[in-house]
Symmetry: C2
Subunit: 175 residues, 2 copies
Amino acid sequence: MICDEDVMSERQSPGGQSLLFLTDEQLRKGIEAMFFAYRGFTADPDRILNKYGYGRAHHRALHFISRAPGTTVNNLLSILGVTKQSLNRVLRTLIEDELVESRVGTRDKRERNLFLTENGTALEQELSDAQRERMRQAYREAGPEAVQGFRTVLEAMMDTDMQRHFTRMKEGRHD
Amino acid sequence: MICDEDVMSERQSPGGQSLLFLTDEQLRKGIEAMFFAYRGFTADPDRILNKYGYGRAHHRALHFISRAPGTTVNNLLSILGVTKQSLNRVLRTLIEDELVESRVGTRDKRERNLFLTENGTALEQELSDAQRERMRQAYREAGPEAVQGFRTVLEAMMDTDMQRHFTRMKEGRHD
DNA sequence: CTTGGAAAGTCAACAACACTGACATAAAAC
DNA sequence: GTTTTATGTCAGTGTTGTTGACTTTCCAAG
């Protein structure tokens, strides 16, 4: 699917660091690929969410609460990178609809520890299944070396603080 | 950056097709990487757009008009995947602000051919420069094989009609 | 024990950007 | 000459983000 003219030239600098020479055209294609792929990436969950009257923001909250059960609102805020008012609106509906449970913190009673209820877990599963299925399909088509490369470039594309969050989640640390 | 337990097992099926065995955990990490990376991907343009009072929708329009000068509204609609009302709002402000020029079609006078003005080209350049710089940096860090894999997985992740658009743009066909 | 500040929640207002539905105009196609 | 297509517009609605102001709760340092 990637044409010959797209193969990047690689040279070795005197310092030993490998240099890539990339044309604007190659970079633009990467940008467009990212745009189109992200649409595909969110398409399936979006359809499901629509069915229940929720949006992407609800999905994100469900996802990260599922990943880090008992996480606090503040932690969620810094991961999602939105204002507390914005998150609160979403969280409130999820709590009202009994998809998320908010328990007063044991150590610090100001904090709220967030958990998915049975229903919440069910919806998160439905969303996650769809998205993982698409991911699995893409990974299968592309092959294992491509997947390795995919992950490497994505990590390099993150902002440093997002990388910090990502690394934490990878290591299973949800503090 | 990618830990040992993440390396995917690969087996050869009797048919000769390579099979990948992926855990939910591995796929979830991919999903999160995609989420965080897309934020990084749009962060720089978002800052610039904010400076001029525009949004992501304006950026997308500028990008694809720049890629396919003379493209029609209908073509833009199918690439962007939004309603004409939504696109029209954005396009109207860009034309009012003299970043985009809308010429009546020569072959078919119902159509409008869209072009960037001098100012439009300048803003598109500013946005594109920032985004390409981040892309270039990520590519450099990751190396050429990773870039190949990145693009392959992204293409596999698109919906089929998005793939069609993407392939067209790659080939320089903007019909 | 008091006070400062952090964590959480709320209210109001606003903007960007998507949607639907209805309607208008011009031009091509049949 | 009727229908279809391409475009544009108006009005209304919903999600998701923002800012700013304010309250309550509660830990912790003075």
